[in-house]
């Protein structure tokens, strides 16, 4: 789940006909250190942003920066999708954007730490060429400059 056979017909067919990119292979960057030394970033497609930052609109291919030391009270969601219940994230941001859980792992030494910034884009994008050509590479370059070793990519 969302297991397609349990979804309402319209939502199921929207997902089945969604123009997902088809790839035969994937680039692969092996992790160069143990997890306990790895600096992590979250990159989310949940349409999250800092309170006061410009909300996302449908089809918006730009990204937002979320400092990794942000308080959960200052993160908002402006996702346009019809397909998900808002109450889980209203109750607990960690269900989509697990900042408190990652901080726990960092203070327990299971991961090396958090990169200074996390990144967010809009999800359910039907036109993805700008994400592929501009937004993705721009986020990658910023993460590299900020010495992130790995990224956890989360949906909503």
């Amino acid at each position: 789940m969302p297991r397609l056979d349990r979804l309402p017909r319209i939502l199921r067919s929207t997902l089945l006909t969604f123009p997902a990119q088809v790839n035969d292979t994937a680039p692969f960057a092996p992790l160069q250190m143990p997890l306990s030394a790895c600096r992590l970033a979250i990159v989310t497609t949940a349409g999250l942003h800092v309170r006061g930052d410009t909300p996302f609109i449908g089809g918006d291919p730009t990204f937002r920066i979320i400092p990794s030391n942000i308080s959960a009270a200052d993160v908002l969601q402006s996702h346009i999708s019809l397909g998900f219940d808002r109450t889980p994230i209203i109750r607990d941001l960690n269900v989509t954007f697990p900042i408190d859980r990652l901080r726990e792992l960092a203070s327990g030494g299971q991961i090396g730490g958090l990169a200074p910034n996390f990144y967010s884009i809009m999800g359910a994008m039907r036109k993805t060429s700008r994400i592929e050509k501009e937004t993705g590479p721009a986020i990658a370059e910023r993460l590299r400059n900020e010495r992130a070793d790995a990224a956890l990519i989360t949906p909503t």
Binding site: P88, N94, V95, I139
Partner: protein, 232 residues
């Protein structure tokens, strides 16, 4: 797709996947498929144990030597309480005798909303328009005039946000305030029941139906898109 950009730049990635069928096509380098509905990527709200299980399983994939790898999270977590899809306005019949004064009703909701904020360390999903809750009667009036067919706008609308998108943000804020107010009243209430209450029993729900109708009657695709977003 994002994962591919990052890996090309030398950053290892792991994706939480909700739709296995899509992930199989996109083939990110490392992905963990989770058996949860949309909106629940890490299992359940306020359940650090399941959130940590998902997180640790995903991070474990970062140490895989080769890819692409797509692993399934064990399907041993009960998700029976989670509806597979949210309730839309069109699926709820409004009850008779709904109060027809959304401004008055909103004033009452704002008090419950304050309670919610107090209990959650100030956290609220409300705030997309930047207009504070204390001035939300003005937003309700704006939406009422829009629904009545008046050519209306708000000075708070940023120039970069067009009218239908601004209306969508106003609707999202109104819903966030009401949903949080309802959860303050009934903390255990499931999302599906909150949506049924909003669309079936509140004046604000009926106002947003009328806003949707005007947006949907337009030939303009961005108005029509906003109509869908307002009524979910």
């Amino acid at each position: 797709m994002l994962a591919r950009s990052l890996e090309t730049a030398g950053i290892a990635t792991v994706v939480i996947s909700l739709v296995r069928e899509h992930t199989e096509k996109v083939k990110p380098p490392r992905a963990l498929w989770v058996p949860f509905p949309f909106g629940h990527a890490f299992g359940k709200p306020h359940d650090p144990q399941i959130q940590h299980r998902v997180l640790s399983t995903a991070l474990g994939l970062l140490t895989e030597p080769n890819g692409p790898v797509l692993q399934d999270f064990p399907d041993d977590v009960s998700t029976d309480h989670q509806p597979s899809a949210p309730v839309q306005a069109s699926a709820v019949a409004p009850i008779a005798n709904i109060p027809d004064d959304p401004a008055m009703e909103g004033t009452q909701m704002r008090l419950y909303h304050e309670q919610w904020r107090g209990r959650n360390g100030g956290r609220t999903a409300f705030g997309l328009t930047g207009i504070p809750a204390t001035r939300f009667r003005g937003v309700v009036r704006f939406l009422q005039q829009f629904a009545d067919g008046v050519d209306v706008d708000m000075p708070e609308r940023p120039p970069a946000v067009d009218l239908p998108n601004f209306i969508r943000l106003c609707a999202d804020d109104l819903k966030a305030m009401y949903y949080e107010a309802r959860l303050a009243m009934k903390p255990e209430m499931q999302g599906e029941d909150v949506a049924r209450w909003f669309w079936g029993e509140t004046a604000a729900g009926q106002l947003l139906r009328r806003v949707r109708d005007r947006l949907d009657a337009s030939e303009n695709p961005s108005w029509k898109a906003a109509a869908f977003a307002v009524a979910r």
